[in-house]
């Protein structure tokens, strides 16, 4: 797919599973393709800031609670 990730990790799959949503369901709610959801979940693609915000709003969380670049402040 599109390898743009820089060791970014995310909890998208976990959050999706908690709501019992399929990738297609999440993709439809975010208005992206299922391939996009899969690429983000597997870390092959880092979403743009606008899409990251859409994801955060959908799950009612802050961006940094979903995405982790490994440099979180302690």
């Amino acid at each position: 797919m599109v390898r743009s990730g820089q060791d970014m990790e995310n909890r998208l799959k976990v959050l999706r599973a908690e709501r019992d949503w399929s990738q297609a369901e999440l993709a439809g709610r975010l208005d992206v393709s299922r391939q996009a959801v899969n690429a983000i979940e597997t870390g092959k693609y880092d979403p743009s800031l606008p899409l990251a915000f859409r994801i955060a709003r959908l799950f009612g969380q802050h961006i940094e609670e979903i995405f982790d670049d490994g440099h979180a402040h302690g």
């Binding site: 797919m1 599109v2 743009s4 999440l26 993709a27 439809g28 709610r29 299922r34 391939q35 899409l51």
Partner: protein, 150 residues
């Protein structure tokens, strides 16, 4: 209607709706592509071989003009459909498309001079068309591999 009243699978339904719309556009494009040479033959009077080769034109100026207008209309339709398709794509799909177009452009830069120089030696017919099709094919392969890896 509020979110609470919406079906639990409204996201999947929206995705399916978008998929149907895309297939509709793709189907319309295929119909236009198939109908184009038929229309040119019927209305333009130019034979397909003449359009492909580009070397010969119909002796009738009016006929050539009709063919040219049809060709411009065809290109415009393809361009408009491509633009609509681009707007409908998400950022991951656009990134894939950008890589495909980059592969087409880069391979064209290499293929074009090579094919043009070797064409007389190897008796390659329509070298420009061969180079163009080769670049398109390479772009398609790059896109296909990226999709399969995804």
């Amino acid at each position: 209607m509020t979110d609470t009243h919406m079906a639990d699978d409204w996201g999947a339904k929206r995705l399916a709706q978008r998929r149907r719309r895309r297939w509709g556009i793709a189907g319309a494009l295929v119909i236009v592509a198939v109908a184009f040479p038929v229309l040119v033959n019927l209305l333009g009077g130019a034979h397909l071989s003449e359009l492909r080769g580009g070397a010969t034109v119909t002796p009738d100026g009016r006929t050539l003009s009709t063919s040219a207008l049809l060709t411009i209309a065809f290109v415009a339709i393809v361009f408009a459909a491509s633009w609509l398709g681009w707007r409908d794509r998400d950022e991951v799909e656009r990134e894939l498309a950008r890589r495909m177009y980059a592969a087409i452009g880069l391979s064209s830069m290499a293929l074009f001079p090579i094919v043009m120089i070797t064409a007389p030696l190897l008796a390659i017919p329509y070298p420009a068309m061969i180079a163009w099709l080769g670049s398109i094919a390479i772009g398609g392969i790059v896109y296909g591999i990226a999709r399969l890896r995804g």
